[in-house]
């Protein structure tokens, strides 16, 4: 891994207009919309057939869901862009003497760095409106969610050659999954086991448990998330191999 290469990737990324849009404006809009649209009262949420006790505040619940949506959007889009950029600059970097492994590691570190940075920013922003029962758990689940959605972004950017279609599909999946299908306010199916195919299904359960329950109960879903991440990773390797063969 080259430090200079990593720094220059960060510098280039931060210079783009879209970076401000996805790192600052998008999370801010999502969390502000959650606080502005939902009343400040308790609400009933059923998770795995049981009512969450004590009943969470509706505004806090909306902030939690939108915080995860923001993390998912920002990290998946960043990973999506990073992979496209990697494909574009790889041949030039190889001419400059960087090995293929060095370049890939640097890009993975870049995406991970952005995931952590985004999670820290969104975690701090959500703390303005509510205090989670398990702060460390809430923060950790945001990071776990960010890594999972980063991989989703990587898979889609490898699978779909058209940049616009890829971005469109990615945003449709993220919005539909986290902000709609798994949202307790909008969806009556959010506890439906058919939704396990969606990337956000277990992560959102972990976030709820960390935000509204004390103790380590949120960890219970970690194996499911790791399994899903593993599946995405294998898919990524498979798709990369297939597309490189085609190329």
């Amino acid at each position: 891994m080259s430090k200079t290469l990593l720094l220059s990737i960060y510098k280039n990324f931060l210079r783009e207009k879209i970076t401000v849009l996805i790192l600052v404006i998008l999370p801010l809009i999502l969390i502000l919309t959650a606080t502005a649209t939902v009343p400040d009262q308790t609400t009933i949420v059923i998770l795995e057939g049981k009512i969450i006790d004590p009943q969470p505040n509706a505004k806090a619940l909306a902030v939690v869901v939108n915080a995860l949506t923001a993390v998912a959007m920002v990290t998946s889009i960043t990973a999506f862009f990073a992979n496209i950029q990697l494909r574009k600059v790889k041949p030039r970097l190889e001419i400059m003497g960087y090995s293929s492994r060095q370049i890939s590691t640097t890009f993975i570190l870049f995406a991970t760095g952005i995931s952590i940075l985004t999670s820290v920013a969104i975690y701090s922003l959500s703390l303005i409106w509510f205090t989670p029962y398990n702060s460390l758990g809430f923060f950790s689940t945001l990071i776990i969610g960010s890594l999972l959605f980063s991989t989703t972004g990587l898979v889609l950017s490898t699978l779909i050659k058209s940049r616009e279609l890829g971005l469109y599909l990615l945003l449709t999946i993220v919005i539909l999954d986290v902000a709609f299908l798994e949202h307790p306010f909008y969806s009556r199916q959010y506890d439906n086991s058919a939704l396990i195919v969606m990337p956000g299904h277990y992560v959102i359960r972990m976030v709820f448990r960390a935000a509204f329950k004390t103790g380590k109960i949120w960890i219970q879903y970690l194996p499911h998330v790791i399994l899903y991440e593993l599946f995405l990773f294998l898919l990524l390797i498979l798709v990369t191999k297939l597309t490189s063969k085609k190329g």
Partner: protein, 251 residues
Amino acid sequence: MLKRGFFLTGFTLKSLLRNKTIVFSSLILPILTLLSTWWVTVDELMSFELQNNEQLYQSMKDVHILTGALTAVAITSGIISYILTVENNMISPRLKITGYTQLEISLSLLVSIFTILSLANISTFLLSLLLFWPKNPAGVLVAILFTTIIYTVFGFFIGFYFTKIMEGTLIVLIFSFIDLMMISNPMGGEIYLKPWTKFFPGFWPTQIVLHAGFLDDPFYYWGPILWTLAISLVLLIIPQLKSLLYNKGGH
């Protein structure tokens, strides 16, 4: 001239239908949005108010199907017109060199957008009718049509300021989702019907669709239609004024 115009329109339409993003947004996205809305929304009664102080007590599912149809149409219109504006800005200098006039280029673009969006509108309208039969189906069609108009203009507007397709796509998608699913939607709770929300592109078409869905009063539509046209006009004029003032011919 007519023959050349037809050729250019046919060519533009063909290239549009080859664009996977456009096929996805005009056919697959409306189906995905409406079916998921129908599947997940609770069939419980909700109370909400319309802009003309009419109080309604209707199924949340039906409200969501109607607003979901508008969301799908808004995203589709916004994205298609945005992509076409950006692509047209790149292609039109080359077409002019080959002998086409600006009028021919603009007309072929408009006819192509109209054809694609008509297909998207009809499919969304028919699917929404299958899921919920409104009091006034023609009113729902009017709402879909005016959502298409205002978001097509919104796409042009964003295309004028954001030439990078990634940025524009992101802005159009997020803005239309937040506008129609949260700000202009009765599901938006506390924010819904706040005075400033009436300047959002989705507000008036949403009022028309809710009116058409649950009440039968076609005379009410005139006000919202005029508001929609006024907002569209403002969105259309701002970039033209800017280009006139700075004399940069578009950018």
